[in-house]
């Protein structure tokens, strides 16, 4: 039986001792102070709290920290200064993807996951890739275009 939970967050080793049912989101935002990950719906519905856990996009509001032993977790803070993260963020800025911005860190994570697994997505695949990330401001077109722009501009990056 595990008595503590060891995981890495943005490459840093973390040992968590406490209620294993605590939401990964609360650990990230409140215990560790990474507030780039947002809480939108609290039920895995809107994608604002998206993070990457062991290479997979997940919504951190419905993951208990107890399920994260041995996991590698990446939040927006962990990718924003990487070449790939910067590629997406620049494309979002250039392409007009950002309005109120609340969904955007999660959207960037979804785009990152998409491009990591599909370096050259079609429009349909991009729309599918962000269909779990609700945005109320943009109507999505410019987000879709921005992700396509990131795919194009970072062509070599995403093949790595």
């Amino acid at each position: 039986m595990l008595s503590e939970i060891k995981f890495t967050l943005n490459g840093k080793r973390i040992i968590y001792q406490g209620d294993p049912l605590r939401r990964l989101l609360d650990v990230i935002r409140e215990d560790l102070g990474f507030t780039g990950t947002k809480e939108g719906c609290s039920e895995g519905e809107c994608g604002a709290c998206s993070v990457i856990k062991d290479g997979r996009l997940v919504t951190s509001c419905i993951i208990p920290i107890g399920a994260c032993n041995g996991s590698d977790i990446l939040t927006i803070e962990g990718i924003r200064d990487t070449e790939k993260g910067e590629c997406i963020i620049s494309a979002f800025a250039e392409g007009g993807a950002v309005q109120c911005g609340f969904c955007i860190p999660g959207m960037v994570m979804a785009a990152y996951y998409l491009l990591e697994n599909n370096p050259n997505p079609s429009e349909e695949e991009i729309r599918m890739g962000i269909s779990g990330n609700i945005c109320r401001c943009t109507g999505y077109d410019l987000i879709v275009d921005s992700i396509a722009l990131a795919a194009k501009k970072g062509e070599e990056l995403w093949k790595k």
Binding site: M1, L2, E39, G44, R56, I62, A67, N69, G132, I134
Partner: protein, 288 residues
């Protein structure tokens, strides 16, 4: 705090022991339980019974084809893994691929989806059509039963104290024609308003098997063996003649509760469409 209410076993044996000792609830992907137990921002979820987090048990992972031809899906297989697996029947893959959106499909598990027994759950519906079974394990041993028997109704199952769903078993299918539709509240990332699977096996112009199951239309997945038997054994040219009788029998199986008009009307049209396609000699495979 009071007594420890959550446990993280490192293997199945430990998990079963603690499940039994504490009369606990198993948490797999968390996508249902973490919502039902939620207490808001910064307040840890709570449950009426102790929780055992089984998310990382290696014994419950993986999808494989067994020697007897059945497909065995580890209970912790996620919707994404199922949707991507060539070993899994297309109807189940379809349902898994349309569950929620990307992130949810990366965490929701098939075991959790069945144990949760939500009328709106996506995977039980095609599983029931395929006569799939679940394997249940506890310290007392192992048992197997059809998913259709396991799920009793909305949020009700035959899961006993200390039991965990360890795998889902899908028998080999000889269905030649299949149809799947999910009608959600929107085109993606949606809870189902209605789902349907229809399958038929046609051999030499004769319907040797016919099945339909429908989800989100009542307290549990609807399957009517009585209605099915109306079409089984008929030739393709006889289908039109028996169609109305079959549709009426199906109609009677649908719950008269929420949105009955829509669910009845739509189910009837989809079944009718499939039967007409069969009558017209449509090609084998997934009918769209």
């Amino acid at each position: 705090m009071e007594e420890m209410m959550c446990y993280i076993p490192e293997n199945l044996e430990e998990a079963l022991a603690i499940m039994d000792e504490k009369d606990a609830i198993a948490l797999a992907g968390g996508s249902d339980l973490m919502v039902s137990g939620a207490n808001g921002t910064g307040v840890n979820p709570s449950f009426s019974r102790p929780v055992v987090i089984i998310s990382n048990l290696p014994e419950l992972k993986g999808i494989k084809k067994r020697e007897d031809g059945w497909t065995e899906i580890g209970a912790l297989s996620t919707s994404r893994e199922i949707a991507e697996s060539g070993l899994v029947h297309p109807l189940v893959r379809n349902a898994a691929s349309l569950m929620g959106a990307v992130a949810l499909r990366n965490s929701a598990t098939i075991g959790g989806n069945i144990a949760n027994a939500s009328p709106k759950g996506d995977t039980p519906q095609p599983l029931i059509l395929l006569d799939a079974e679940v394997t249940l394990k506890s310290v007392r041993g192992e048992r197997r039963m059809k998913v259709d028997d396991f799920i009793l109704g909305a949020k009700k199952t035959k899961l006993e104290k200390g039991e965990i769903i360890t795998s889902v078993l899908i028998p080999p299918s000889s269905l030649t024609h299949c149809y799947y539709r999910k009608i959600g509240m929107r085109r993606a990332n949606a809870i189902s308003k209605l789902t349907i699977s229809i399958g038929a096996e046609v051999r030499d112009g004769k319907v040797v098997d016919f099945r339909a199951s429908s989800g989100a239309a009542g307290p549990k997945v609807i399957r009517s063996h009585e209605a099915e038997s109306i079409l089984i054994g008929k030739t393709l040219s006889e289908l039109t003649e028996y169609k109305e009788e079959f549709l009426d029998a199906w109609n009677n199986a649908i719950s008269p509760r929420a949105m009955p008009e829509y669910r009845r009307g739509t189910t009837r049209r989809m079944l009718s469409f499939f039967i007409d396609a069969l009558s017209a000699g449509v090609q084998e495979g997934i009918i769209e």
